[in-house]
Amino acid sequence: MSLLGEDIVTEDGEFVINIGPQHPSTHGVLHLKVWLDGETIKRIQPHLGYIHRSIEKMSESLSYRNFIYATSRMDYLSAHINNQACALCVEKGLQVEVPDRAKAIRILMAELTRLSSHQLWWGCTGLDLGAVTPFFYAFRERESIMAIMEETCGARLTQNYCVPGGVMYDIHPNFRSRVKDTLKQIRSKFTEYEEILTGNVIFEQRTKGVGYISAEDAISFGCTGPTARGSGVSCDIRKLYPYDGYEKLQFKEILEQGGDCYARYMVRMAEMKQSVFIIEQLIDNIPEGEFQAKTKMVLKLPKGEFYQRVETARGELGVYIVSDGAASPYRIKYRSPNFSNLSALEKMATGTKIGDLVAIMSTIDLVIPDVDR
């Protein structure tokens, strides 16, 4: 009957399904063409570009002050870190010394962003594996971080708080007490996270040994962030190429050797605790002083090339600015972490089941606007 028609099964007997662009677990508009054998995945082909907004082309016509806001829309869950990367790259070109206070504020905000991003990821991982409840617990804590963001930066997601030379305005007077309250709340909830998801036997079975990628492959595919650290590849930019004063802080680079979904999960869980640790070190030691360095009205980078990389919640973000001495970049390239991480998806998911594909996608923690840019 129609089932044997060419719509469902291709000529050589392959069963092809399109997961996405509108699908509950693709976290946006990712479109995967999946070749199946029963439930087992034989091949995956990602189709990208559903939300390609040509941020790189746009930035070529914007001034060095103006292009930063657009990067909030790339990896919208680590918007602040994206802005920070651009600001750092412009500062590198201008050779501006950023005041210590601004650096500390930037790190605090970046770690809060990382924390909120990981919390959202944790909730979504539960959701993807069929446990709906963790999502709400994660959002409860995330909400208090969002309140901090809103109070100091004026926006919850796309803050646009970093400007070349520092931050846009000083922290809010309530900032310290609010951060401390939030950290206390988050610290007390880590055990809940472990009870409902980490220790759960179904969850362990769904993630352990699923979506394996070796360290060599992870490097070759250009995986970064928790995706690579789950395979034991040391790639934390905060440690290897410190920026904004990360070298003065004490924190551990989390490495897991498993290379599977569970290892990636554990890396992120431990990173949340490390972020809390970093914020605790800084919150009482924010240096006094200016929050922004004096810069010219119109910024002009000297002729040359500038590359700045930062560690976002998902991996290494590279900002590559080619300047011809004008007031706007000649060419700008964002090396986004998700784009490279996504390319490893086929390697991880071939030979697994559809249910595993969902688990793998959620532990890579894809943000599709960052892939498409």
Partner: protein, 364 residues
């Protein structure tokens, strides 16, 4: 109060019967009319029941997820589900062009009808049973397995790849979990010595099987809970729907009233499974009695039997709902591993234990 209720069910039915016999002098016609009345009564009971279960599920989920749940329509949001049903009724029931239209429309009917049929031998209260068939337990387990045909039919006829995958999963799942459900039911049948539902309830007059039957019955109760959760396709075994993997599984293509029928069937199944668990393991409508505490037992007797039955049923429904809102979903191969590697061997050994216990008379 209790006496009035209990007597009323049987005397009401007898009254109607006698009035019908008096009015119509044909035995066969009276039977048909009585059947129609029973069927209508069941429908009238089922629709509010499903509304309530839908409301309960939303509220239970909401409270577990630190949120309020529906609170707009009606007092405390209690009419939300009615509003949703009305919306589904008015929606266009789409039939995909490439689907097998006859099977596509037949599937939801089969699913709903089978789940309603299973209601027949359940004793809702003392003397209140639609059909006290002598092979009650066998009837329940055989009829409930027809539902898989409806699901397979829905998945196949939709001509959608997701639906097909969901239906195939469901087929494998229901067929294998049927075994564990059957075996755990058999352990009670062995103890009670009868397949008739009313006999099983009466055998628990001096204590429910879950207390009388020591650990083996407890084990078969747990196995029954797990396996029947899988059989009615509820999370963590909702692989046939698996929203995050297959969007909506076997009912991806359904909309409007036909979709509502699947929803209706899901809630009726939930109720039926819990009712059977309550009847077999927790004594059905039988009040809670403790040995020779006559005063206590007397007080317990004053609670109407229907309250006892519904209370037990809803307690089990709550547990099944809590499963859904706590656990992640299993993968399809792990689902089968759970059944064939754990539940089935354990319940087989368990049946032997129960048999030994029944023969030796070790139970109370």
């Amino acid at each position: 109060m209790k006496l009035i209720l209990d007597i009323s069910f049987s005397s009401f039915a007898t009254g109607i019967h006698e009035w019908l016999v008096g009015a119509i002098h044909s035995e066969g016609l009276v039977k048909v009319i009585e059947m129609v009345i029973a069927g209508l009564a069941l429908l009238v009971f089922l629709v509010p029941l499903c509304f309530f279960l839908g409301y309960m599920e939303r509220k239970v989920a909401a409270f577990m997820q630190v949120r309020l749940g529906p609170n707009r329509v009606g007092p405390k949001g209690s009419l939300q589900i009615v509003a949703d049903t009305v919306k589904l009724l008015f929606k266009e029931g789409l039939t995909p062009n490439a689907s097998d239209k006859f099977l596509f429309n037949l599937a939801p009917v089969i699913v709903v009808v089978t789940s309603m049929l299973v209601m027949a031998p359940i004793a809702f209260a003392k003397n209140f049973q639609i059909w006290d068939i002598s092979i009650g337990v066998l009837y329940v387990s055989s009829i409930s397995s027809i539902a898989v045909i409806g699901i397979l039919m829905a998945g196949w006829s939709s001509n959608n790849k997701y639906s097909l995958l969901g239906a195939m999963r469901s087929g494998a799942q229901i067929v294998s979990y049927e075994l564990s459900v059957g075996l755990s039911l058999i352990s009670i049948v062995i103890l009670a010595g009868s397949l008739r539902m009313s006999d099983i309830v009466m055998s628990q007059e001096n204590g429910w099987w879950i207390f009388k039957g020591h650990i083996p019955v407890l084990i078969s109760f747990v196995i029954f809970l797990i396996a029947s959760t899988a059989e009615i396709n509820r999370a963590p075994f909702d692989l046939a729907e698996a929203e995050q993997e297959l969007t909506a599984g076997f009912h991806t293509e359904y909309s409007g009233m036909k979709f509502a029928m699947f929803l209706l069937a899901e809630y009726i199944n939930l109720f039926v499974v819990s009712a059977i668990a309550a009847t077999l393991f927790l004594g059905g409508w039988m009040p809670f009695h403790i040995g020779h505490w006559h005063t206590f037992n007397f007080v317990m007797d004053y609670i109407p039997s229907s309250i006892w039955f519904l209370g037990k049923t809803f307690a089990i429904i709550f547990i099944i709902m809590q499963f859904r809102w706590t656990f992640p979903r299993l993968r399809v191969d792990q689902l089968l591993t759970l059944e064939w590697k754990y539940l089935l061997p354990i319940s087989m050994v368990n049946v032997i234990l129960v048999t030994v216990m029944a023969i030796m008379g070790w139970h109370f």
